[in-house]
Subunit: 81 residues, 2 copies
């Protein structure tokens, strides 16, 4: 998807999800924003909410590098059922 | 790293970063929490801050699937310098 501002985003989880990953540029810095939107009751427009975090490229790369470790932790936590 | 509560976490970006990815279980649901911590002025302890989001497994899997698309968007945004 593209926002009117030319940012690219995707919905997380399912096609109607209000949680988005967005790639955007803010003050010259490329950011990966993971954020929950909410639907404005009056306009029906989706607006960015309080819950979320903007990762810098460095932090996003770090997250990518950690994926195999995160996977191991997920398996462990899931096993402890 | 392990928290005293047995949650596993990693620091994002650099070893002193206050931003963490954490795998934890909350009310029987496995969550991947990406959150900014802050240092308590009195105790020096790191505490979870307002900025952040807890992804469900489904949302985290969705994020993983989107990584190649995110990569393309990052290249595009970075080129527009």
């Amino acid at each position: 998807f593209q926002t009117p501002e030319g940012e690219t985003y995707w919905r997380l989880g399912d096609p109607r999800s209000l949680r988005r990953v967005m790639v955007r540029k803010y003050r010259g810095q490329v950011l990966v924003d993971i954020r929950e939107y909410y639907r404005d009751a009056k306009t029906g427009e989706e607006l960015p909410g309080r819950k979320g975090i903007s990762l810098t490229m460095k932090q996003f790369r770090s997250l990518q590098t950690l994926l195999p470790d995160i996977e191991v932790a997920l398996q462990q936590v899931s096993r402890n059922d």
